[in-house]
């Protein structure tokens, strides 16, 4: 068998996807135009919380270009007014009773062109009785606060769940015995993945065959198919989901949105294809948000800087419907990985989820479920502890990092980390940064009254959900299939369940298979994003493609290889036991001249060659991969900033990122994934936030207000790599798609607060905009979640 490790087909190679994309020949959902296609538009609520007295669509229906108008009442007649969320709650497709967030869907107009559909929205008259909004999660549970979910029988307040993990008694005991205890309240503000392509759909019900074909911006086409079948009652084999080229996803394209179901209902009603493409404001105001965690962290240590225990109390704002995208048994995702990368004795966390009159969501924005919030908490707490102890934050981390010999390591909250060499990664990051010189420069600058910051973070992610006996979404276990066909001439087609949104699956997965079979990646075509042509699986998010689907592809390829072995034995007239796999071919042991490659074997397998009893011929194979554990990528990041105390402006001067994602199949693509996440870190830490005013108005509803980093806010990234293979993944790989989004925000924040340390600023919440930094310097910090003081 091939040992885990890079080999011939691995390595940087240009992407197969690029040929069409650089010519403008990609096919994104909005590029699809079908004969007779109609265009949908959604009427949305201007209020955050209001009872709907009436919806009058008479004038809209009379518009000469309008073909249909759907309301909640219309959908209720078909049992489609509500749909299940990804977390066991329900969400209104079109509101029937109340609106519960600004931007909630009320009616759906279908017209002959997109401008007319928008025009007709203006003709719909809705009467509202405004109710009190609930925009501050911290007041959601107070007596007298408006009850948001009066649609749920027995719901008396805005509580969704209480959940905890870890050992409370042991943690309390460790805190009681500690020399030093540091606490901090912090907010991970509501953010949004904001892929450059918004969400959209083209739904087409064939009136003759009864087959529904849906082109949709989906990171999880198979899960969407099952959900459409469940909600609409259409038989699942009569539903085909095509997820074509996607303009980014980052978690935003995991859920099923009301607009999708409206388009499906509309094609069923009109018998014509219906397209709906949300605009940017719809995307930001009603599509899935991320984060919105209000956290209290406490860390306990001995006087010599040994970290003993950690605890966290979290108020999780889930918006108006609990649509958070997490495996069923994990209402707070994997937040309890919050002990991070450190050797602690005890830890305990408690999470309370609440409803507010804000958009539903809670997606894993470029991270495994809630790991981002967890890493931020622990990395801020470690920095605060370092300041309390007057210890260098790099030294404090090095002292407390898990040691290589502790792996596999069982964390106090139950996670089993598969592999790691943490000190090596941190040492490399410090070396690339020139850490001692940076500290010396900082001292010089401080003496001159300049504010330079050096911030560190060390993160451990848990990605590749997940073992199906523990992890499911909507009852669907998180295992993924792969089908591999090898044609007679030795060219192969791999069909996978996961879906690229830019990660380069068509290239990386071809490399995985090519390596196993001694082929060139050019000889392997990767098919994805079409449920009629690919095996079932739960899709791409939480960095699960390589850990789960990639493993399935490798297992299928190894099955092909074993089938080829039997055919090769017949070709060479030897026993299969006499063959060894070497240099990409089956070879007779001790006789290197006698060997057969996959192409020759494939032709023989399809020929009239007499095969031993029980050998079927052909080489095709499939696999379903149920991962035994998550994979645990990790990394050490260092951010250097310069802060202008007069304006509060932060300039990121350098960013050093050392990532360990196990074996790297295509290092070029891995580096690209890291670059992306580092830009996310700049955006999340310094710019991006979806805040609300006291009336529940969303203040981040366009790119004028929801600020994303451009090329001038981003420095030139400095990357480093270590490789610690995963012991349980077939090629030793771990996920990498989201590590940098998880690891970089605390490095940026720690850097800014390090810069401001001489001014006595201990903590300030993201996003660290100039105004927020300036106010923190004045000792009057602003809340990040509300536009009120």
């Amino acid at each position: 068998m091939t040992a885990a490790g890079p080999a011939a087909a691995y390595g940087a190679m240009p992407r197969k996807e690029d040929a069409r994309l650089i010519r403008g020949q990609g096919t994104f959902v909005d590029d699809i135009a079908l004969p007779g296609m109609l265009h949908g538009a959604v009427l949305r609520s201007p209020y955050a919380h209001a009872r709907i007295s009436s919806v009058d669509v008479t004038a809209a229906r009379a518009h000469p270009m309008v073909e249909a108008v759907l309301t909640g009442a219309d959908l209720a007649g078909q049992g489609l007014a509500w749909m299940p969320t990804l977390s066991g709650d329900v969400q209104a497709v079109l509101a029937t009773d109340k609106v519960r967030f600004q931007g909630q869907e009320i009616a759906f107009v279908v017209a002959r062109d997109r401008y007319s559909a928008r025009d007709a929205l203006e003709l719909i008259a809705v009467e509202y009785e405004p109710l009190a909004p609930v925009t501050d999660a911290r007041t959601a549970l107070e007596p007298g606060t408006a009850l948001i979910r009066d649609d749920i029988a027995g719901q008396r307040d805005n509580r969704i769940f209480d959940w905890s993990a870890g050992d409370k008694e042991a943690t309390d005991a460790a805190f009681a015995a500690a020399d030093v205890v540091v606490g901090c309240d912090m907010v991970y503000p509501r953010s949004h993945p904001a892929p450059l392509e918004t969400c959209g759909i083209v739904a087409d019900l064939d009136q003759v065959t009864g087959k529904l074909t849906v082109w949709v911006t989906s990171q999880a086409p198979h899960a969407h198919r099952t959900m459409y079948a469940t909600v609409t009652g259409l038989p699942e084999h009569k539903i085909r989901i095509v997820s074509p080229d996607l303009g980014g996803g980052f978690g935003n394209k995991v859920p099923v949105y009301p607009g999708y179901l409206c388009a499906v209902a509309a094609t069923m009603l009109t018998g014509r294809p219906v397209k709906w493409i949300e605009d940017r404001s719809e995307n930001l105001m009603s599509g899935s948000f991320a984060r919105d965690y209000h956290m209290r962290g406490e860390i306990a240590a001995s006087a010599d800087g040994t970290i003993l225990a950690l605890r966290a109390r979290v108020l999780a704002d889930h918006g108006a419907f609990n649509a958070t995208a997490q495996p069923t048994r994990f209402p707070a995702g994997f937040f309890h990985i919050f002990t991070g990368s450190y050797d602690l004795r005890a830890a305990h966390c408690e999470v309370t989820g609440v409803y507010t009159t804000k958009a539903p969501g809670g997606v894993a924005y470029s991270c495994s479920f809630r790991v981002t919030e967890a890493v931020y908490l622990v990395e801020r707490m470690v920095d605060l502890l370092a300041r309390e102890l007057s210890t260098d934050p790099a030294e404090l981390r090095m002292r407390n990092l898990l040691r290589p010999e502790q792996f596999p390591y069982t964390a106090p909250t139950g996670w089993q980390y598969d592999s790691g060499d943490y000190p090596r990664a941190l040492r490399l990051a410090l070396e690339i940064a020139g850490y001692p010189q940076l500290r010396a420069e900082q001292a010089d600058r401080r003496a001159r009254g300049e504010y330079m910051g050096i911030g560190l973070s060390f993160f451990t992610e848990g990605v590749g959900a997940g073992p199906r006996e523990h992890m499911d979404i909507l009852g669907l276990g998180m295992a993924d299939g792969a089908d591999l066909r090898v044609h007679p001439t030795g060219k192969a087609v791999l069909a996978i369940s996961v879906q690229t949104q830019g990660q380069g699956h068509e290239t990386t997965f071809a490399q995985l298979v090519a390596h196993e079979l001694g082929l060139s990646p050019d000889d392997v075509e990767v098919v994805h994003g079409d449920t009629d042509r690919t095996p079932f699986g739960l899709g791409t998010y939480g960095s699960r493609s390589t850990p789960v689907s990639g493993a399935a592809a490798v297992v299928a390829a190894r099955r092909v290889r074993e089938r080829a072995r039997l055919v090769a034995a017949a070709m060479l007239e030897v026993s299969a036991d006499d063959l060894e796999w070497a240099d990409g071919a089956w070879r007779v042991r001790g006789d290197p001249e006698q060997s057969r490659g996959i192409a020759e074997i494939a032709m023989a397998a399809h020929s009239s060659l007499r095969l031993p009893d029980g050998v079927e011929g052909h080489l095709d194979a499939s696999a379903v991969y149920n991962p035994p554990n998550l994979t645990f990528p990790f990394g050490a990041y260092i951010c250097v900033t310069d802060v202008d105390p007069g304006t509060g402006e932060v300039k990121v001067r350098r960013f050093i990122a050392v990532d360990d994602c196990g074996v790297r199949i295509n290092p070029m693509i891995v580096a690209g994934q890291v670059h992306r996440g580092l830009a996310d870190g700049i955006g999340i830490a310094l710019m991006q936030s979806i805040a609300f005013d006291a009336d529940g108005n969303c203040l981040g509803g366009s790119f004028m207000d929801y600020l994303l980093p451009t090329a001038v806010e981003c420095p030139s990234w400095e990357l480093g790599a270590t490789v610690t293979p995963s012991p349980h993944h077939p090629v030793g790989a771990k996920g990498i798609g989201e590590s940098a989004t998880v690891g970089s925000p605390p490095a940026v924040v720690n850097s800014v607060l390090d810069a401001l340390a001489p001014l006595g600023v201990r903590h300030a919440d993201m996003p660290l905009t100039p105004a927020r930094v300036w106010r923190a310097i004045q000792g009057r910090p602003l809340r990040p979640d509300l536009a009120v003081e």
Partner: protein, 165 residues
């Protein structure tokens, strides 16, 4: 309104609504879907095309404003079946991931190199600062533009006659 416009060297005449945006005219009326729409507010630049010589955000240009003018889109970047050096460089340097911002980025890059043949990194970053990429962290876009500049310089060097004397 009657509109006559030359897109990628081909002249088109169409009757359009005065309010029709150039991006929708290109995508929906002409079927040139390589230019993308991303934000409505001129922030993201997925819709950048060249109007005469200048990159514009075509979500904020009315189609009728382009009457009698020339438009270059990603579909017109290649010449005589040969990719533009900018296209080659974006693929070679991993300057794209999802590919949604890429057409606009490449058009701005081509415009930059037409005016500043050997730009600094800061000049490249400034040139694309009105456009958003959510995938690359910009690093490899900058590399791509640098590489395209080098390729163009080499080609120009080969094409130029030896200086006299």
């Amino acid at each position: 309104m009657r509109l006559t416009i030359t897109v990628n060297g081909t002249e088109y005449s169409r009757d359009v609504e005065p309010r029709l945006l150039l991006i929708h005219f290109l995508r929906d009326d002409l079927g040139l879907t390589g230019s993308h729409w991303g934000c409505d507010t001129s922030n993201c630049g997925a819709c950048v095309v060249c109007l005469d010589e200048t990159p514009v955000k075509s979500c904020t240009v009315l189609a009728v404003m382009a009457d009698g003018r020339r438009v270059l889109t990603v579909e017109g970047l290649a010449r005589g079946g040969r990719l533009d050096p900018v296209q080659e460089a974006f693929a070679a340097c991993h300057g794209l991931q999802c590919g949604f911002c890429t057409p606009g980025m490449m058009l701005t890059a081509r415009w930059l190199l037409d005016h500043v043949p050997d730009p600094t990194d800061a000049e490249i970053r400034a040139a694309i600062s009105g456009q958003i990429c959510r995938c690359t962290g910009y690093e490899n876009i900058v590399r791509s533009v640098r590489q395209a500049a080098a390729v163009r310089a080499e080609a120009a060097g080969q094409a130029d006659p030896e200086p006299a004397g």
